[in-house]
């Protein structure tokens, strides 16, 4: 039982963490919580299944194509749902626009792909039992992603530019940084990260159009737990969520495990509204 809790809990936790990072990446340059994050994860699974099982492409081709396709979806989201409402962020219109795009993505997938879950291929044919690749691939993908982002943000000029826009986009623009292009870039990056979540977790989640809302909800929790914009917090929050959820499945079971997860979520937010790893918001007086 413990092995099952650890294997499934860490795997699902890593998927939730990657979706949380997707939220954060889009938020960093636009101050918009885009509710397309879960749909990008869903598309990662669907594109992976389409390219590998139906079109017969090898992993080495299918993975980059999936990431590129979802990056494109991310860019379209920026153009269609984010840019038009940036001037009125205080009205929170982005909730409507990003939810609308998420709904469109889900409906198109349902019509074109189908409403039944489709199989996702084994990627590396490595491991059995609790060492099956479906359990450790999402964890590995999460580790690679967080490592890559740390490198990008800390060691590259482009990463510094991203951080500059995230800190203060007006100042960044005044310094001559291409704020709009950087925002488009961050949505493309978020699309690829969301796709990686769905692709690496495809063997657990299957290629299923209804995975989007699930990932939207459970991917948001690590963001709230870890602090908005804090990727390391999202990873810790995501893994903790996965482990707690799987433990709840074993102890209280089925429908009550979701209740347990949300009860814990509310309790944590009551105790630390800024998230466990987020800094308290400063207010100018």
């Amino acid at each position: 039982m413990l092995a099952s809790i650890l294997a499934t809990g860490l795997a699902m936790g890593a998927v939730y963490a990657l979706i949380g990072i997707t939220y954060n990446t889009m938020f960093a340059t636009s101050r918009v919580m885009s509710f397309t994050a879960g749909q990008l994860g869903m598309l990662g699974g669907v594109f992976g299944s389409l390219l590998m099982l139906q079109w017969g492409l090898p992993l080495i081709v299918a993975l980059p194509l999936t990431l590129a396709a979802c990056a494109l979806v991310g860019v379209v989201t920026e153009f269609v749902a984010v840019r038009p409402v940036l001037k009125s962020l205080d009205q929170h219109l982005y909730v409507l626009t990003t939810l609308a795009v998420a709904l469109i993505i889900q409906q198109i997938t349902a019509i074109e792909w189908g409403t039944e879950p489709a199989p996702f291929p084994r990627l590396l044919e490595v491991g059995e039992g609790v060492w099956h690749e479906k359990y450790w691939l999402p964890v590995a993908a999460c580790a690679v992603t967080i490592g890559g982002l740390e490198y990008l943000y800390r060691r590259t000029l482009l990463g510094h530019a991203f951080i500059a826009v995230a800190e203060d986009n007006f100042a960044a623009r005044a310094l001559g940084l291409p704020e709009r292009n950087l925002r488009i870039g961050s949505y493309a990056l978020a699309g690829a990260i969301g796709a990686l979540a769905g692709f690496s977790g495809g063997q657990l989640l299957l290629a299923f159009f209804a995975n989007g809302p699930l990932l939207n909800f459970y991917g948001f929790i690590p963001v709230a737990l870890g602090g908005l914009g804090n990727n390391r917090g999202a990873v810790i929050g995501g893994l903790a969520l996965g482990l707690f959820q799987q433990a709840a499945n074993f102890t209280v079971g089925g429908i009550f495990s979701s209740v347990a997860v949300f009860v814990l979520f509310i309790v944590v937010l009551l105790a630390a509204p800024q998230g466990l790893f987020g800094a308290a918001a400063s207010r100018r007086v």
Partner: protein, 401 residues
């Protein structure tokens, strides 16, 4: 049928002449009615989610209409199928129903084909006294007092439940069952009704649960069911993903408990979702005797007659035979009502259906009366070997003669 201006004038003059002669004007209408096509409204979710049944039903509908019309129609009247794609959306279905009633002036309506849409339009059709036959399973859709116009040619949820329980208790002879549903409204209510039924019949429900169908790991619930001593697992879910995960988990546990329940367990998608083909064995899904083949691979003679007629004209490879047969029967029920009563008036069609006893359809042998509009015989609801699909039919589960 299209009227020319001259024909219209002739009819008008005839009516005026009849009126002048002291006959009621209404006498001119039967002549027109006797030649006009029999308009059958067909509310079909042909696209969008849940379109597979309507696509299958439609093949039977078109085949039946073509066959009847090729044979000269019904007393010289052609069958005219007016199809509206409702896309599985209750709002679109309401609009289409209103159109059928007020503009198309359909003589009868077949469909819709899913309960969500049917719940939205049943009362509308009842107000218009529109003869309606549908295949939806929700029990409340049939109420002979509130909806005297509505008839069901497929089993209800209760009949499915009875068939599953009878198979577990009388054929598998198990005493302890686990009942699992998904967390949808259907899964919760179906599992609850199933538990009540088993307990009423003296069986012990050792474990019951509603599982989120997207839950990636079914081990916790399967372990609980095994530890509770379940001898069979009854599943009420339309989610093929959840079904496949349950089967894979059972295999991983090395447990050989049988699964019995919802027809989705026999869905073709499961073949790609199970880790190994043998994981899908010992799974018995709800099926129908008319569309099941026996140990020798033979279908019932009446069904074989339909399959022979369909051969080369209607594909059965990507659909279920009962959908095609049900669509055929629906059209034939309307045609026979007009043929036997000589009228396409709604009261006459409803009256004819109410008089049917053991009407030999291809999908089922229907019996209706003014107090019973669930026409499908419960004894013909059987369990099928879930992994045995062959041209839209299934093998009878073990234990049936």
């Amino acid at each position: 049928m299209t009227l020319t201006r001259r024909q219209f004038g002739q009819i008008g003059l005839g009516a005026m002449a009849a009126g002048a002669a002291g006959f009621p004007l209404g006498l001119a209408r039967p002549a027109l009615a006797q030649n006009e096509p029999i308009r059958i409204g067909w509310l079909a979710a042909m696209t969008g989610p849940s379109s597979a049944p309507a696509v299958g039903f439609n093949r039977g509908v078109e085949f039946a209409a073509a066959a009847i019309n090729a044979a000269g129609g019904v007393k010289g009247r052609k069958i005219d199928i007016i199809t509206r794609d409702t896309q599985g959306d209750p709002t679109k279905c309401v609009n289409a129903t209103q159109e059928m009633i007020s503009q198309v002036k359909a003589h009868a309506i077949w469909g819709p084909t899913n309960s969500g849409e049917s719940l939205a339009v049943t009362a509308i059709m009842a107000r218009a006294k529109m003869p309606n036959v549908h295949p939806c399973v929700v029990d409340s859709l049939i109420d002979e007092k509130r909806y005297p116009n509505a008839f069901r040619l497929a089993p209800s949820n209760t009949q499915w439940d009875d068939a599953v329980r009878n198979y577990c208790l009388k054929i598998l002879k198990v005493k302890k069952v686990a009942v699992i549903g998904d967390t949808t409204g259907y899964g919760v209510s179906a599992a609850k009704a199933s538990v009540a039924g088993f307990q009423k019949d003296g069986a012990e429900v050792v474990y019951q649960a509603n599982i989120d169908s997207t839950q990636p790991d079914m081990t916790p619930d399967m372990l609980r069911a095994r530890n509770a001593g379940a001898e069979a697992i009854v599943v009420w879910s339309v989610s093929t993903g959840m079904d496949a995960r349950l089967f894979n988990t059972r295999a991983g546990m090395g447990w050989d408990v049988p699964f019995v329940g919802h027809p989705s367990m026999a869905s073709g998608e499961i073949a790609g979702l199970v880790n190994k083909p043998e994981n899908w064995k010992k799974v018995y899904a709800i099926g129908y005797r008319s569309c099941s083949y026996d140990a020798e691979g033979k279908l019932p003679a009446h069904t074989q007659e339909l399959v022979d007629r369909l051969k080369g004209k209607v594909s059965l490879d990507d659909t279920l035979l009962w959908w095609v047969a049900g669509g055929y029967d629906a059209v034939q029920l309307v045609a026979d009502a007009v043929k036997e009563t000589g009228s396409s008036a709604s009261a006459d069609i409803i009256g004819y259906w109410n008089s049917l006893k053991k009407y030999p359809g291809y999908f089922g042998t229907y019996t209706f009366s003014p107090t019973e509009h669930n026409g499908y015989p419960t004894e013909d609801v059987v369990m099928s070997e879930a992994s045995s699909a062959r041209s839209g039919t299934f093998a009878l589960a073990p234990g049936y003669s």
